[in-house]
């Protein structure tokens, strides 16, 4: 049994990387391994926007990650600096920056880049999807 963390930087709207990461995560869990943390960075953070409304015949990546996280108790961590720049904010950040509303899906958590380093040090493998 091994411990994995993922670094996801892929744009969810224009790249396949988030689809690949989702399949990889499922395969890790099916093989009985552990997911320590999934860290979203750069354009990867865009998937945490709860206002995303893909067409009805396309996969909703935001909800797919949220469902997996809740069912399997996985940490979905979103880099706060990358997120703020991209309009993904929680209630606290919205207030601090005088924004009208929060926009992050509740299954994702904003945190610092240190959470990525900490995950690297605590995992057997880090796999990047960009």
């Amino acid at each position: 049994m091994a411990t994995f963390s993922l670094l996801i930087t892929a744009n969810p709207y224009s790249n396949q990387g988030q689809y690949s990461a989702l399949e990889f995560t499922k395969a890790v869990l099916e093989a009985g391994h552990i997911i320590k943390r999934i860290f979203f960075y750069a354009d990867g953070v865009l998937v945490a926007n709860r206002l995303n409304c893909p067409p009805a015949d396309e996969l909703n990546l935001t909800k797919s990650w949220a469902k997996l996280a809740i069912e399997k108790d996985i940490e979905l961590t979103v880099c706060v600096t990358a997120a703020l720049k991209r309009g993904i904010v929680n209630q606290a950040e919205a207030e601090r920056n005088a924004l009208t509303s929060e926009s992050i899906d509740p299954a994702f958590e904003l945190s610092g880049l240190g959470q990525l380093t900490e995950a690297m040090l605590a995992s057997d493998r880090l796999v990047t999807f960009g």
Partner: protein
């Protein structure tokens, strides 16, 4: 009426641009603009038969290419060099256009009022 050509030059699914370019193409057809569609370079991979992106939960839009004629798209050109690069022959791809060399493709791009790629 002004004419427009659309140049598909990227492989499908890795990037989302194929579907988005196709949507502009269909809109221009609704305005009855004369349209040429070109599959250039890696773009010829958009036309491979039997794509099954649904196994990755990705939507398959390749069937819409078959309907281009129905949407009034007059000319569809497929880059001969692109086919050769990817070792494809006409039997491997959707039968929706004519094979064209780079000279013909250059002429179409020069002749149309707009050329759009994504």
């Amino acid at each position: 009426m002004k004419s427009v050509c659309f140049i598909f030059n990227k492989p499908p699914y890795g990037q989302g641009s194929g579907k988005e370019l196709l949507d502009i193409c269909l809109m221009c057809s609704a305005f009855e603009m004369p349209i040429t569609v070109i599959f250039q370079g890696d773009g010829v991979l958009q036309l491979i038969e039997n794509q099954q992106p649904d196994i990755l939960n990705i939507k398959n839009y390749s069937k819409t290419f078959k309907a281009l004629k129905l949407y009034g798209v007059e000319t569809v050109l497929i880059d001969a060099a692109g086919l050769e690069k990817h070792q494809l022959v006409t039997e491997n791809i959707l039968n929706i256009g004519e094979i064209a060399n780079s000279k013909i493709i250059q002429n179409v791009i020069q002749k149309t009022d707009f050329s759009i790629m994504l």
